[in-house]
Amino acid sequence: MPWIKDRYHALRMLVRRGQLEADVAEELEFHLAMRTDEYIAQGLSPEAAREKALERFGSVRTYQEQTRGIDAGMARQRRRTELWDVVARETRQALRSLSRTPAFTLMAVLTLALGLGATTALYSVVDAVMLRPLPYAEPEQLVLLDSPVPGFAANAPWDLSEAGFFLFTRQAQGFASLGALDARNGSLATETGALRVDVAWVSAGLMEVLRARPALGRLITPDLDAPSAPRSAVLGHDFWVRQYGADPRVLGTTIRLDDVPTEIIGVMAKGFQLPDAATVDVWAPLRLDPSRPPENSHWVRTLGRLKDGVTVAQAQAELATLTTRLPELFPDAYTESFMRETGFRTRVTPLARHVVGDADRVLWVLLGSVGLVLLIACANVANLFLVRSDARRREVAVRSALGAGRWDLAWHSLTESLLVCLLAGALGLLLAHGALRLLVALEPSGLPRLREVGLDGHGIVFAGGLAALVGIVLGLFPQLWTGSDLARLRESGRGLTSSRRSNLVRGGMVVAQVGLAVILLAAAGLMLRSYWTLHRVAPGLEARNALTFDIVLPRTRYTNYDEVNRFHREFLSRIEALPGVTSASLSTLLPLRNFEQCAAVAAEGMPVDLGQLPCIASPVVGPGYFKALGIPLIQGRELTWDDLDQHADGVLVTKTLAERLWPGQDALGKGIRGNGSEPPYYRVIGVTDDLRAHGLDKPPSEAVFFPLAPAEGLPLWGPRRSVSVVVRTGTSSPEPLIPEVRRILAELDTAVPLANAQAMERVVARSPSVARASLTLLLLGIAGGMALLLSVVGLYGVISYIVGQRRGELGIRMALGARAAQVAGLVVFQSLRFTALGIVLGLLGAVSLGEVLSALLFEVSATDPLVLTGVCGVLVILAVLASYGPARRAARVDPAEALRSE
């Protein structure tokens, strides 16, 4: 009996530890006694003999200590090897016993691997997105500065204005540095034509804020950031490798960036990126001009680094004071009434919080869901272990009788469960790795820092720790209710039926599984309804059969309205000539993608304080735009090329805006303008139906659609070189047009890059509200599906087991005249009892957790009766199906045989 021997051995080692010192003392004393005897025999007095023996021996204390030290080391070493031996032997034994029941082992490992893998994958996402600090030096000092304008747009804070940026840079004491940023597409001239590149136009301060380091050359310094400085640029590392083959000789060469000669002065350190992890191909100086007259135009994205010891609240307070001085310092740009009406202020947000945004709620909900899946998986495996331990009752009973204590038995089951969990953990890591790769490849929008997501040390440690924890719980679990050794032996004598208590535990676990599955399925169901509701929202445009892409005309060769618009007109007419194309047009803002630019719009005859005017989306659109994008007009007509040629003053507005500005009146012919309230005005020539350009979850947008060139006497913001083109096809899918369009573009001008070519349907799908809903739905759906599968398997297993146990009883019933159908009904009834109890508990859980979920839902209540009823229905049906097999088996019980085996 090796486990008994182990215990005694361990005990002996413990005793020996105390014995160590005594042994050494005794050995030395023996030596001294022998020597003393010898000297006494030579005729010395006992005292003198003892003294001489001691002298001959040397320092007793030194040798005692040395000897004892060596012995202690020896004992330690032996304990270690013995422990290792025990572990190795137990592991071998557990492996043998697991391999004797391959079906059990496979089932347990697979089930746990699913749970552990899902949990690890989600944890890795949470870790990368939320827990890990931003990849900059001392990231906790980094903040974002912006300006909430609650009086105008509750959830859309503005960036800073140039005037504000310079004011804060000069005067705010709490910041070590402030940096400005404007990330845009640009075009880079190459031998094979224009290449669209992602350019980060940054101030020199941004390099300090983010503590950027070059891989080669130097970075953007204040002298290069001066308005009059020669053009220079720093290449992003990836771009340098991809485009220039990592050739260091690019330093000092000149490229044409947006058609302007620009010197390459450096290469950014590998992996260095903007906080939102957007790709940056080229870093170029923003060259803000402090001498420009101040404007109330808020486009300067501003990041700051707090000085050591300065808190966010302190910085915030300081900026609040400076902000109140804006009207006094820049009376032309900021009026007191503007400040008052809009509630304009300056806000300091920790950069990490800004980057994570509202993804944290989604992620915690998802992590919670996979945690529940893991619990269900554990319950399943715990049941498997129970069945197995029941099957081994006789073996266990015999061992107990032979003296194996509860601890020995616990140790056995612990080794087994740890082994199962470690195998499952390893498999789970593989699963998690695959799942994360898949997630990153899918590029769900609405998940920040996605490129940092992957399985790393944190994830591996998490999976290992979780596997060990689950292993320990599962291993010690069966010990919690097994009775005394005697009870166990008694039970095993009585024909190996399992105890009432263990059946109770079994049933309890099935009930818990069903309950957890109800919670998860309810969450998935609610998300599904949300998603559907969101999809049923009419965006107000026809996304099918429309292709969109962006082009940017180089500033150097397209300097005025005529040149720009001539290009647009030629380009669009050639596209419209393509077979299958019904119409093509363009605009500066694409609904559901970047409908952000806005202007203060004034209506004729409405006395308003300029500062009070709300900022209204003001895209510039080409002729035929509404037809191309499928936006229906409820009144009037759209702009034509003739209007453009004549510099006509026609504009279109959305129904929402028309109803607000001119309630109950005919909007056609009304005067409206941006950037001022004095005549002349544009005239409304058409009104569109409701258009949800800002997001499907937002109310219909207010917008004014301006022509490509301004009407006589009216200001407009320059010729539109950077536009999104929309191409509508008759019936065919629009993507195959992309190469054709590229060809046409190259024929017209090889310096014009084309980017973001995608079907309009994809634009809608990637818009934040839809993307977040679909990501959450996808992951919750996977979690819910796993929960459903696992709990049905668990239910099936337990019902099968119970039928097996009740064979005798069922046999008696049949012998007494019960019909097969009645017996089968009994089994199904038992399954339904578990399910019903689980459903009740699950519903209670779902309702109480509804609060957490409700923020993620769109126009669906967290206690939506349809969803909850549906979930219950599904579970009841599955419970009946799961008990179908066992019920048939029960109905086929042969009474004679069942009674014989009893």
Partner: protein, 113 residues
């Protein structure tokens, strides 16, 4: 005159002492003293750390037993590994003494030769 013992040489001498069979520490000390005519200066106590160290290395094993005068004593027995160790150490010791002897008996080198 007594000779100081080189580091490590004591191990060899103890192993040698144990080739005749199991001995307790006192017996090892007495044998060394007798065999060397008391020429080696060894503190008797220093035998014990050496014995225990060799036990740990597996060159000898230690067991409690009863001495010739009926006292409880710890007896050390040479293991096969200890025997191999002794062979190795004594052959390298012989090579060393041989080499040293050659040097001592050689004619001194002449200047510039």
């Amino acid at each position: 005159m007594r000779i100081d013992l080189l580091q490590g040489t004591l191990d060899m001498l103890i192993l040698k002492a144990l080739t005749g069979g199991s001995l307790h520490g006192y017996a090892v000390a007495s044998w060394l003293q007798r065999t060397t005519d008391d020429a080696l200066r060894v503190e008797e106590g220093s035998l014990y750390p050496a014995l225990h160290r060799m036990t740990r290395r597996g060159w000898v094993t230690a067991d409690w037993g009863v001495s010739e005068n009926n006292r409880r004593a710890k007896f050390y027995t040479l293991t096969a590994e200890g025997r191999r160790q002794l062979q190795e150490e004594s052959s390298s010791w012989e090579r060393l003494t041989e080499a040293v002897a050659k040097v001592l008996h050689a004619r001194p080198a002449a200047q510039g030769a």
